[in-house]
């Protein structure tokens, strides 16, 4: 009888501790074979804010299933982004848009590399040259023009800044972003406008 009580108590102790991840971090089983790769990557991203003790586990798994961008999250957590930069460089050298843009943002923001706005401009322009007119890349192209507008503003080159601002204004980038948000929210039945 005493043994049964001990087992129950132990079981209770295992079940009772609160999850320090909170309910913003779903309790997925990393070994579940039905877990989609997208869910693994989402867990990696969410762990940065909601479950840092599980971050490396989820992000290494995300990397294994093909999301090299998961290394950025590891870098933000550990302070060492060298693996991420190496991967971004490799993908950029293969002319992959994700790699080019990742490296461009790294140099623009000084994330894991010394900030270098001119290198960033070169990379963003490389992306634009490779992808202008491609319908699939429409929003990212406009977003890149916005990034270049901000960089040139920071550099004090207002003529170039205006050139890029003209592009995303003429292509209604801000309006298109609002429309995407409204569509997503409406489809989920959420009111976008709120009065406080």
């Amino acid at each position: 009888m005493n043994q049964i009580i001990v087992i129950i108590l132990c079981f209770s102790v295992v079940l009772c501790p609160r999850s320090f991840a909170g309910t913003f971090f779903p309790k997925h089983d990393i070994n579940d074979p039905n877990l989609s790769n997208d869910t693994v990557m989402l867990q990696c991203k969410k762990s940065l804010m909601y479950a840092p003790s599980q971050l490396e586990m989820w992000c290494e798994r995300a990397y294994e299933v093909g999301y090299w961008q998961a290394l950025e999250v590891i870098g933000l957590h550990t302070g060492d982004g060298s693996r991420y930069i190496a991967e971004a460089q490799k993908h950029a050298e293969n002319d992959e848009p994700d790699g080019i843009l990742a490296l461009a943002f790294a140099y623009e923001s000084g994330r894991f590399v010394p900030q270098n706005l001119h290198k960033s401009i070169t990379l963003y322009n490389q992306y634009l040259n490779d992808n202008k007119g491609i319908e699939e890349e429409k929003m990212r192209v406009a977003g890149t023009h916005e990034d270049l507008y901000l960089i040139y503003t920071e550099l004090g080159n207002f003529e170039k800044a205006a050139e890029h601002k003209r592009f995303f204004d003429e292509n209604n980038y801000i309006e298109n972003k609002d429309a995407i948000l409204k569509k997503q929210m409406n489809e989920a039945g959420i009111s976008v406008d709120s009065e406080q």
């Binding site: 320090f20 909601y50 950025e72 843009l101 943002f105 977003g143 997503q184 709120s194």
Partner: protein
């Protein structure tokens, strides 16, 4: 504050007006923000303190169900749609801008995780740029660092690798180690016990 969803604004306002009903707010923190020992209670104290000093408390966030209105990583990175992190940021920015547009006398102090305040990834705009795009220019970002995290009353420690002397100090400095679109400061909390 990030830690309350908009759906609770009525309960928040009732508490603010009457001083009653705080338990509903504390219950929400207990259920959704149990990140460690005393964390939910700390958010509760923040709400109480805000009311005591006369600040209006605004629930910024979406509910967990509303956050499902998002898309996967590949589509979000391609900017074809927004992931839940970005949807939240966009809605919070709209809420904050709406308050500031109501009156030029209005001021806002917004509590959130740092990776909402600034750009978390290349495709995830932070509140720093989103609020600026909404026309607000006077913004300061204050990043709290240091302090302790507790798993229980007896298990509290800091997780930094600072020198011991630095761990005991309370100080601030200008700047932020990652890109921020606004003037930023870091406030270091000492690793003293609770």
């Amino acid at each position: 504050m990030e830690m309350l969803p908009r759906s609770m604004q009525d309960k928040v306002e009732f508490y603010q007006r009457t001083g009653s009903g705080f338990n509903f707010i504390q219950q929400y923190f207990d259920e959704y923000w149990a990140r460690g020992y005393l964390v939910p209670q700390a958010y509760g104290e923040l709400v109480k303190a805000a009311r005591e000093v006369g600040l209006k408390i605004i629930a910024l966030d979406l509910t967990l169900e509303e956050m499902d209105a998002s898309c996967g990583f590949d589509y979000a990175e391609a900017k074809k749609c927004f992931d839940s992190h970005t949807v939240r940021n966009l809605v919070w920015a709209q809420n904050i801008n709406a308050i500031l547009n109501q009156s030029n006398q209005n001021r806002v102090v917004a509590y959130m995780h740092r990776w909402h305040a600034v750009r978390a990834a290349g495709y995830q705009e932070g509140l720093d740029t989103l609020v600026k795009v909404g026309g607000v220019s006077t913004i300061r970002f204050i990043d709290f660092i240091g302090g302790t995290a507790c798993y229980s009353q007896r298990s509290c420690k800091g997780y930094s690798d600072e020198k011991a002397e630095l761990k005991r100090q309370y100080f601030y400095r200008e700047g932020f180690p990652f890109k921020s679109a606004v003037k930023s400061y870091q406030v270091h909390l000492p690793e003293s016990g609770i």
